[in-house]
């Protein structure tokens, strides 16, 4: 079956984010230790680090793509996949874990139809695991962006998701 293919180059030329990225790369050229902060800012522009961004960073800094890719996969802060509008974090710290965080996570996976580290097809939610967020008194807890939800049971999940 034929698949319609869009010309990536033209798309990118129209995409002002790439102009922003190129400016950013210029500002980091000739600076030592530029890669991590540059990737960080690039991710703020794009929400993640698509391959084209990694290539431009590599070419701009004069380093191999393998090095950029290595750093991008080393730090969990960086994502190579598009992320959803809202980021859900399920705490799997010790307290939450013993108080049933596993069931919360399973319910979220079921309701969203995705696995951990994936994003829903509509781009709304990304599901992630966090370590202890320091709210053990409310365990088990999850976060949606900056909001914290505590004393969770699987039954509460549907209603929480509906708020976003």
């Amino acid at each position: 079956m034929m698949e319609a293919k869009q010309c990536q180059g033209c798309q990118q030329m129209r995409d002002p984010r790439y102009e922003q990225l190129d400016e950013l790369i210029k500002s980091y050229q000739d600076k030592k230790g530029a890669l991590v902060p540059l990737l960080h800012e690039a991710q703020e522009i794009f929400g993640y680090l698509p391959e084209e961004v990694q290539r431009r960073v590599a070419d701009g800094l004069g380093i191999p793509l393998s090095e950029v890719y290595g750093v991008a996969t080393f730090y969990s802060l960086f994502s190579l996949k598009p992320r959803g509008k809202h980021k859900i974090g399920v705490c799997l710290g010790t307290a939450c874990y013993v108080r049933g965080a596993g069931a919360i996570l399973a319910e979220l996976e079921k309701q969203l139809g995705i696995r951990v580290n994936d994003t829903t097809a509509d781009g709304k939610f990304t599901l992630e695991i966090t370590r202890c967020i320091g709210a053990c008194g409310l365990s088990p807890v999850m976060t949606v962006d900056e909001d914290v939800f505590g004393r969770l049971t699987p039954e509460k999940i549907k209603e929480i998701l509906a708020r976003y």
Binding site: E51, P64, L65, S66, E67, Y69, G70, T73, F74, L80
Partner: protein, 586 residues
């Protein structure tokens, strides 16, 4: 100078020396695995741990600077236990198939396990399970055998200026791989095999084609012949106990006959032929305003490099095929006609110091008029050594014998193709005499010899107003310096020689590995000495004096640079670019 004591031995070293080097100076051996002087001093393997009085914990000697009055202990119970445990942890995620591994008996991990007296497997845990990478014709990757020392990463990026290998992911999931965890075939790898040369284990090796060659030798319907590159003769002896640089040409030829090859040819003959064509091409470009500087085209890793990374400079390349391919083209035409055998029935094996030659052989440009590839199979020096051993041939006991005609006679200029600067020197020996008409008395051009990264020379051609400005680079990071100069219009050279591997073909990716990567340059120098000794030992030292090449032109090719020569001996190149495909996302 600062003074410190190591295990009670006082030693004085310059400031800035690391403890590992200081211990060496004191005659104390500290085991290392990841350490590669200058290129990979990262303290990753934790096998060089030492104890230092007044400092907490154990420290990696390779990254610890020696200081005045320091007291270092390298052989305490704590040190021994920690090194041993670290090695055992490495082994716990390493396949235990040493007996059937390509590095059996030549593996640094195996040697360390022996040295540290490890006799049991204390840790059982999760094991990595990655598919093997058989995507290229040259290099095989087995990530399961990788100990994450990153020596290959360092060589690929820093020595070769390529950088297609890197560490991907983190923790237990870390793997050394091309970006995106791709296959080597999917990235702009030049297949030089320098990663293979520094890999301590069986994680990186040449693709093994020995079985195909044994099968061909068994096929009575085939006329199976072989050619050997200049650099093989000064290195293959190492696999049979000779010191590096020993010239074993005669015994190697005898061994090849015993293996069953019906004719044994010398790539050096084709190297001489290359000089006829290449010197002629250079003079034509000089006279007719062709693209300068002209750059040599013998090294297939270098060719792949320019096609990926400097495709805009391709017109600077000489159009001459490499000697291996020239010999192949002639074997299936000139030689086939001479002996009255149909080209389809000729099976030509090349023995090369090179992994990239396996790729070059299969290039679509390297197929002759008859639709047959010029060369059928390429073996590395290491593979030939294995075949000789498998066949039970005792190489040191063999008598010497000579290459066969008509593709076997060569001059000293052909043999020096094996070392950095050699192609340049050989070309100049000929260009000098062709242009000036005067005899060149001192044929040895010291300025282009040796291991400095970029070498330059000027040669005045007497009787003309031409002063040839030439440059030589080996190791692709060094080549980049010259290429960037050309790009910015700052290179006023006429002729440049580039070989992909540091030192030239003598330490190509298919040669016997160094026993100690930190003594690699000493090994290179010994092999280079062997090459120049072989040159001095030959009665003829200028390619244009090779009577067999002259006969070839007189009876078959016609004019130098003429139509037939162009047809058989020249080629063209492919623009490849740096990024080949979209990387696979994890």
């Amino acid at each position: 100078m600062i003074k410190l004591t190591i295990d009670g031995v006082t030693v004085a070293v310059p400031e800035g020396t690391d403890v590992l080097a200081a211990a060496k100076a004191a005659g104390i051996r500290i085991p290392t695995l990841c350490y590669m002087e200058k290129y990979n001093e990262i303290g990753a393997c934790r096998l060089c741990l030492v104890e230092v009085k007044g400092m907490r914990g154990l420290l990696a000697a390779c990254t610890l600077q020696a200081s005045d009055g320091m007291e270092v202990y390298t052989n305490t119970p704590a040190v021994r236990e920690a090194r041993r445990t670290n090695l055992e942890l490495l082994l716990s995620d390493h396949p235990q198939d040493c007996l059937i591994c390509v590095r059996n008996g030549q593996c640094e991990l195996q040697s360390l396990a022996e040295e540290m007296g490890i006799r049991r497997q204390r840790f059982e845990g999760e094991k990595s399970a990655y598919p093997l990478d058989h995507s290229t014709l040259s290099i095989m990757r087995d990530p399961n055998k990788c100990v994450l020392c990153r020596r290959c990463v360092a060589v690929c990026k820093q020595v070769q200026g390529v950088g297609v290998l890197g560490a991907v992911e983190r923790g237990f999931d870390t793997i050394v791989a091309p970006e995106g965890g791709c296959l080597l075939h999917d990235v702009a790898c030049v297949l030089c095999g320098q990663c293979v040369m520094v890999c301590p284990t069986g994680a990186l090796a040449e693709v093994d084609n020995t079985e195909e060659v044994f099968a061909a030798l068994n096929d009575k319907s085939k006329h199976v012949i072989v050619q050997t590159a200049p650099a093989v003769r000064v290195a293959i002896g190492e696999e049979f106990g000779y010191p590096p640089g020993t010239i074993v040409t005669g015994k190697m030829v005898s061994a090849l006959r015993r293996l069953g090859f019906q004719a044994v040819f010398d790539t050096d003959f084709a190297a001489d032929l290359t000089i006829w064509e290449e010197a002629n091409e250079l003079l034509e470009r000089l006279n007719n305003g062709g693209t300068l500087p002209m750059i040599t085209s013998c090294s297939p890793g270098w060719i792949k490099f320019i096609e990926h990374y400097y495709p805009d400079l391709i017109e600077h390349l000489s159009t001459c095929k490499s000697p291996q391919q020239m010999l192949g083209a002639l074997a299936k035409t000139y030689y086939a006609e001479k002996i009255g055998v149909s080209p389809e029935d000729i099976f030509l094996v090349s023995v090369m110091p090179c992994t990239a030659k396996k790729f070059e052989r299969a290039r679509p440009e390297m197929v002759g008029e008859s639709g047959l590839p010029d060369v059928d199979i390429v073996l590395t020096t290491r593979e030939l050594a294995r075949m000789i051993k498998v066949a039970g041939i005792d190489l040191p006991q063999l008598p010497d014998s000579d290459f066969d005609s008509p593709l076997g006679l060569s001059t000293g200029a052909g043999v020096i193709f094996g070392a950095t600067g050699g192609v340049m020197e050989a070309a100049l020996r000929t260009a000098y005499e062709w242009v000036s008409g005067e005899a060149l008395t001192n044929v040895e051009l010291e300025a282009v010899r040796g291991l400095s990264g970029v070498k330059e020379a000027e040669v005045k051609l007497p009787g003309t107003d031409i002063t040839l400005r030439v440059a030589v680079a080996h190791g692709l990071a060094n080549a980049r310096q010259l290429l960037d100069k050309i790009r910015t219009g700052k290179a006023d050279y006429h002729f440049i020689e580039i070989m992909a591997c540091p030192g030239g073909c003598i330490s190509g990716g298919g040669q016997p590995r160094p026993a100690d990567v930190n003594e690699f340059n000493a090994l290179r120098e010994q092999r280079i000495k062997g090459v120049y000794r072989a040159d001095r030992d030959l009665p003829l030292r200028k390619s244009h004096e090779n009577p067999a090449v002259k006969e070839l032109y007189d009876t078959y090719l016609g004019e130098i640079g003429g139509e037939r020569a162009h047809h058989l001996l020249h080629t063209n190149y492919t623009v490849r670019g740096k990024y080949l495909r979209t990387i696979r996302q994890h």
